[in-house]
Amino acid sequence: MTVMRKALSGCRGARLLAGVVLALSLSAKASAETNPRDPYEGFNRTMFSVNEVVDKYAARPVAQVYDKAVPLPVKAGLGNFFGNTADLWIGVNSALQGKFGDAGIDVSRLLINSTIGIFGLFDVASELGLEKHEEDAGQTLAVWGVGDGGYLFWPVIGPRTVRDTAGWAVDSYADPVWRVRPIASRNSMVAARFIDIRASLLPADKVIDEGALDKYAYIRDAYLQRRRNQIFDGRPPRLED
């Protein structure tokens, strides 16, 4: 817990974040009929439309070019490489949630893929049956009983609840990619990872664009369902019909 607090106070964004959250909680009271899961809907919809423009003219076109131009083995290698850099922190979060067996697998994955898998370019561990897990600080907080605090939509980083925004700040602090030096190399790596993630979401674009009555609400509800599924490690208890 103190690690978390230290990380948060160390993060320059934390004070800004606290300010935004305060402003949001004031604005929430002002609007009339609110979705209990989305108390900051007005703010979120504004941010969402900002992000739609950024995505349409920058992120999506770049991701499409990357997806078309780069051969599959290179894309897979890059995805594996970034996946490998994340496995240690995933292991820490597994342990913090009391899943020590999972944590052992996460650390073994890191050791195997960094060596036999040649700096993580090949996911040998998965071939050996060591399954990759999805853990982060936001899930750890949830397992510790922290409520989600309401849904937020941020430009560029996208949907996060209040809890997951704090978790994301901690994740970024612990993220080895953000510590790469010189800064120019760090920036290229962060950008490459962003494009890789955006490219992996390209197949979902058409599903959402054609399937949603209200794209904002569709993405919000999909995000909340997916997080719930992650927190319960793929087996969420059934909700009332």
């Binding site: 897979a76 996911d123 058409k206 399937g211 009555l213 999909a222 599924n229 019909d241």
Partner: protein
């Protein structure tokens, strides 16, 4: 050659057994239908080059018979479903079916170069509501969990929900539908989905002409 002769009846008996199984076992049903559909999607050049209409026809023919659409629509509409008249329920089901088939077709064609694996499936005798779990493995990415909820009704096992990465393609509509009902009533919701389907259909027509 001799071995061949022995093998053929054996393979044939396996085939007969699998057909018989499909009527009883929900996991085998899901596996058969998915592998058949994915096989067609992978080998069809029109589909590979982005012909959504063809995937929709494929889903209509191969997948739809195994879906329980009234139940799916009831789940998507939520508590307003019970207030709907039988005729409204019928219209809602018809419009939602069209929308969901397109969503499902888009979800199917979005993935390339992947491998589908099924999780071990256990079912107690006499169970009528089960979850069949599978995973799509893709190079360089995290596995995507795909689960099907099935129920046993008189006509056999039917899918009534499916989730991709934990996101139900059915209940993800609930808040959007409730929002439409609040502003325009159930008829408003029906009109909105119908309008959405119409615009997608005409958009598709244009895209095909290109």
């Amino acid at each position: 050659m001799n071995a061949m002769k022995k093998l053929i009846p054996f393979v044939f008996s396996l085939f007969v057994a699998s057909v018989a199984w499909s009527q009883e076992s929900p996991d085998v049903l899901v596996q058969q239908v998915s592998s058949e559909v994915l096989e067609i999607i992978r080998s069809d050049k029109d589909i590979q080059s982005g012909n959504t209409q063809k995937v929709i026809e494929l889903v209509d023919k191969k997948v739809l018979p195994h879906f329980n659409f009234p139940h799916m629509t009831a789940l998507a509409v939520g508590k307003d479903w019970k207030r709907a008249s039988p005729q409204q329920q019928q219209q809602l089901t018809a419009e939602f079916k069209t929308l969901l088939v397109r969503t499902y077709a888009n979800a199917l064609t979005g993935y390339k170069n992947q491998k589908l694996v099924y999780k071990p499936f256990k079912m107690a005798a006499g169970e009528t509501d089960v979850l069949v779990r599978s995973e799509v493995l893709q190079p360089g990415g995290k596995p995507v969990q795909i689960d099907y909820s099935l129920e046993k009704i008189d006509a056999g096992w039917k899918v009534y929900d499916m989730t991709v990465a934990g996101i139900s393609l059915v209940t993800n509509y609930r808040d959007q539908f409730a929002q439409e009902v609040r502003s325009g009533g159930l008829d408003g919701l029906i009109a909105t989905i119908a309008a959405k389907n119409k615009s997608l259909e005409s958009g598709q027509g244009k895209a095909d002409k290109k």
